[in-house]
Every structure is written in structure tokens, then in C-alpha cells.
Amino acid sequence: MNTIEKLTRMRRRILWIVLAGTAAATVLLLSPIVLPGLRTRWLDLDRSPDPIWYGAFVVWALTVAVFAVTFLLYKRKARKDPGSKAAVDDERIRTDWLRAYRIAFLTVTGLAVVLKLFDVVYAFRLIRAFLLPDRTWLILAGAVLSLVGSFLYFSRETGDE
């Protein structure tokens, strides 16, 4: 197996660690809210801290630590062989990352909208709060501004006709 394959496998392993760790931490974080919510048909978002949340924090911290160490090892290995480093980030991989960023952008924006609507339904007597300039509006404004702004920047025409 050549260095390109070794680095590719190493990166794949790192990404699986991040995915599994984040998924586990998210499950631990949400389970004290969602599981009772399924029984009572009510999501108690103002509940007191749950011991499980400390577990979620430990899993998350471990994930970050393992990621940091393995990513440093990966970078060190890649630096030793610049040719393989370039090959590991070939044109298909870069496009795959761009597609992944697009999905992540849509997910985050969609999630912000859903949570905002959930806020309104959950506390619908405070419907006026919908219009308050809170964090969600800031995230949505940031999303629209960065999306449109960067598109206009990348598609600008320079030089002579």
C-alpha cells in the first residue's frame, strides 16, 4: 500500500472518529429531553441539568482530544511526502468537501428556521418574540450575507473583455 492510500485510510478513520463521537455526544445530550418527551408528549426545554449531560461532555471532550492527536499525526505524515499530500486532496475530494459544505449550510440554516418556529409554537403567547433580533436572526442574516456575498465575490469579472 502506497503513502496516498495510507493517508486516505488514516483520514477516513479520523473522520469516522469525529462522526461517531459527535453522534454519541448528541444522543447523550438529547436523550434526557427527548425520551421523557416521548412519554409525556411534551419537550421540557427548561429542565434542570441531567447527569447524562456530563457524560455527553466527556464523550465530546474525548472526541476532540482523539481528533487533535490523530490529525496532528496525519499532518506530520503528510508533510513528509508533499506529492502524496496533494494527491490525497485531489480534485474529487475537494469537490466532495464543497458538496458537504453545501449540505451543512442548508442543514444549519434549516435547523435555525425550525428551532425559531418551534420557539414560536412552544411559547406562542410570546409570538412577538419572533421578531426580536435574537441569535437565530443573527445566524440567518450571517448565512444569507455570507452566501450571497461570497457568490458575488467569486463570480466577479476581472480583467479586459
Binding site: M1, I4, E5, A86, A87, V88, D90, E91, R92, I93
Partner: protein, 68 residues
């Protein structure tokens, strides 16, 4: 106009040159998976990569890639 796709003879040429996907990938500086994607027509390579692949086989570009 009907939609055309880029096809290739990479598998045949690779067999003739006695190269594995991994060896070809190393020669053109991409991952083995990318060669696999290109070979199966699942990824359209850039002009630069397509030229590099043709150069490895020592044949004109059109002998490796064609529109269908």
C-alpha cells in the same frame, strides 16, 4: 440536444499497461478511489487530470476519453 457523457477506455488501457488502479493513481497524483470513480464514469475528471492519464498510457487524449 441530447445529454452527452464522458466515457473512457481506461480499464482496457490499464490492463494493457499492466497497471493497477493504485499504481495509476500514484502516477497521476490522485487517490485510488478517484481513478475508480473516473473509470466507472461516476466522476468527470478535469482537463488537466484527463491529460495526465492519457500521458501515462502514452496515447492521444481521444483514445482514452470520448463522448457518448
Amino acid at each position: 440536444m441530447s445529454e452527452e457523457t464522458l466515457r473512457n477506455n481506461m480499464k482496457v488501457l490499464r490492463a494493457k499497461a499492466d497497471l493497477t488502479q493504485e499504481q495509476l493513481a500514484e502516477r497521476v497524483l490522485v487517490t485510488r478511489a478517484t481513478i475508480n470513480f473516473v473509470e466507472r464514469g461516476k466522476w468527470v475528471p478535469s482537463a488537466v487530470l484527463a491529460m495526465r492519464i492519457a500521458r501515462v498510457f502514452r496515447v492521444p487524449f481521444e483514445e482514452v476519453f470520448y463522448l457518448e
